[in-house]
Amino acid sequence: MTTPLAPVASTRDAPLSLSVLDAIRRQVEENWSLPAGAREAHDLLVEIHILLLSDGTVRVAEIVDTARLDQPGEEFFRSMAESAVRAVRRSSPFRDLPPEKYEQWREITFRFRPPV
Amino acid sequence: MRTKFVIFFAALFLVAACETVPEETASTAGAGAAAETTTSAGVSGEAVSTEPSSTEVSTAMPAGPTPGTQEDLVVNVGDRIFFDFDKAVIMAAAEKTLKRQAAWLKQYGGVTVTVEGHCDERGTREYNLALGERRANAVKNYLVALGVDAGRIATISYGKERPEALGHNEAAWSQNRRGVTAVN
C-alpha cells in the first residue's frame, strides 16, 4: 500500500491470467516429492520465497521461516521445507511466462501444504 | 507321550475317514462316531448302559484295547468333545461323552488325565490360547461336577497350534474346536 508500483502500460498492468498461474502451480507440483509423513501433517505450512530472472530461471529460493529450521523437534518442518525448495529449483526455468508481465511474476511466494 | 498321541490321532482319523460326515453336523457326528464304537465294544459300566447296545458287533471285535488306557478311552468312551465357534459351553452332544468319561475315570481310579483345549484357526494366537484354556477347564469342571477328583485332571491349552483336521473350511474348523482328554 505504501510503496507505489512503477507506472506501467495497460497490458503489463492487467493481472496474470489464471492459466499462467495454473501453469506455474502445476510445474511446482509435478516436481514436489512429498516427504514421508506429509499425509498426516495436514496443518503444516511452508512458505518459499523466490526471485526469477526474466527467462524464468530461479535466481533465489528461500525458506521464509528460517528461524524454525534448526530448532530441535522441527526436523519434519525442515524436511518439508527442503523438499519444497527442491521442488522449486527443479522447476527452473519456469516456462510460458508472459515477458511483458515480468514485474508481476519476478517475485513469488509459494505456500506448500501437504495434501489432504 | 508324543508317539502315543500320534497313534491315537491316527486311529481317530481312520474312524473319521470311514464316515461320510455332513459338514454342518460334523462336530456332533464326530462325537456320535465315538459313542457307537463305545457300545460296540461293550464296555460294562453305568454310563454305557443307557446307550443303544449292539452286542453282535461286540462279538465281532473280541480283541479290544487294554482297559484303562488311552486307546480304551478313545475307542470305547470317546476322548473328545466339540465346541461352537468362540465358545466354551458344553453342548448337549458333548454331555453324553463327558458322562461316559466320568464313569470311565471312576472305574479306573488310578488314571490321571490332561484335558487339552484346542481352537480353530479363525482367531488370533493369544486369544485362542486363552479360549483353549477356557475350553479345557469347561471339560474339567464338568467331570469334577460328575464326581471325578479334580486332582486327577490337569489342563493345557494349545490354542490353534495343534489342529486335528488340516483343511481351511468349516468342516475342518468344527473338528478343531475341541476338548481332548488324554491319559497321562
Binding site: R25, S33, G73, T109 | T124, R162
Partner: protein, 446 residues
Amino acid sequence: MSAYRRHTGSFRSAILALALLAASGSSARAELTIDITRGNIEPMPIAITRLVGEGDEGRLGQEIARVVSADLQRSGLFRPIDQRAFIQKPEAMKVRPRFGDWRQINAQALVNGLIEREADGRVKVTFRLWDVFAERQLTGFIYRSVRTSWRRIAHKIADDIYKRITGELGYFDTRIVYIAESGPADRRVKRLAIMDQDGANHAFLTNGRDLVLTPRFSPTAQEITYLSYFHDQPRVYILNIDTGQQEVVGDFPNMTFAPRFSPDGNRVIMSLATDGNSDLYTMDLRTREFRRLTENPAIDTSPSYSPDGGQIAFNSDRGGSQQIYVMDADSKKVRRISFGAGRYATPVWSPRGDLIAFTKMHKGQFYIGVMDPDGKRERLLTSGFLVEGPTWAPNGRVLLFFRQSPGVGSEEGETRLYSIDLTGYNERLMVTPIDASDPAWSPLIP
C-alpha cells in the same frame, strides 16, 4: 512423542504464517502467492556412490553402499539410481560434488564417502549427504567399528539419510525376532529365530523341541520374552540373546502367556490363566513382585503398554466379543476403544504413542489396521485369509505382520512376514529361510 510435538509445532507455524501474511500485506511487497497442495508420492531419486577406499576397504565400501541402497529402496520412500548411470566418479568428489552432473541424472540427493583402515585394524567410514538442488551438505558422520560390524555401519548411514530427508527417525539398525515354522500343521515345529531387519545374520535361537510362540524384545534389545511349552507347561520365559541363558518368569501352577516388557524394561506384563480364566498381571523383574491388573471372568490378553508406560491396551471379550480396551496403569480404570463391526485383537501401541495397531476379524476376513488411542479414525491397511500380529518399526511408520495363505487343495499355504507402510502403501515380503510368524521388531540397537 515427536508426532505430538510436530502437531503443536505445525499449529504454531500456521498462526505464524497468518501473521506473516498480514505483515506482508501491509508492507506491500509486490506479492504473487501461489498455494501448492499437491505433490507426487514417487520415491525420491537418490544417488548412492560406493565409498572410496583402497583394496579390501574399497570392496567393503561398495558393499556398504549396496546395503544402504537396499535399506532405502525397501522403505519405499527412495529410489536409488543405478550406479552405471553416474557421470562423476566417486574418487573425483573428494572436495565437492559437481552438482550439475547429478542433476543431469535426476538425483535429488547424493551420498558419497570414504572408507579407511585404522592402525588398530578397525574401519573408519566418513559419509556425506548432499542436496543436489540446494548444492549443500545436509548431513555427514564418521563411524568407526570393527570390520565385522560393517553392516551395522551401513544401516546407521541409511538411518541418518532417512532421518535427514524425511524428518522421521530411521529403523534400519534393528533386528527382527520371529517364530520360524516347519512341518505339517498338526505337528508344526516352531523355533525362535532372529535376523537383522534386512534378513542378514539369520540365526535360530531354539532347537524346535518345544513349541515356542509370541516373542517380544526388551527395550535394550538384549532380551526376548516369549512363551515356551517346555516340559508341556506353557510358561513365559526370558532369553538373553548374547549369553543364551533362559529363565522362566515367576513360578505359577497354570499357563502364563502373551508376555511383553514394560517400556522401562523393569517389568513383564502377561496373562495368567486361573481355572480357565485369563487375567493380566505384571511381574517386577527385580523385586519379583507380582501384581494383578484385571479381575474379570472374561479373557484379558495381548497387552501393550503406551510408550510412556501410563496406559495399557489389551483385548478382552468382557463385552461379549473380542474388543480392544485401554486401562490406566495406575488407577486400573478401563475403557473400551474399539466399536467397529467385527472382532478386534492384538492392540500394539505405536512407539510414537499416536496410534494403536490391531488385528481385526470380520466376516471371515482378517485385517491389519490402525486407530487413534481413543479408538477414532480407524484405518485398515491390509487384509487376507489370515493376517495377524502387527509390530511397529521403532519410528512408528512401518508395520510388520504375518500372513498365512490357506493353500490350494491338499497343498498347504505359506506363512510369511510382510511389512507395510503406515499409509497402507508398499506392502512387501520380508524374506525368511522358512515359514515365519509372530514377528517382533526391535527398538533401534543401542
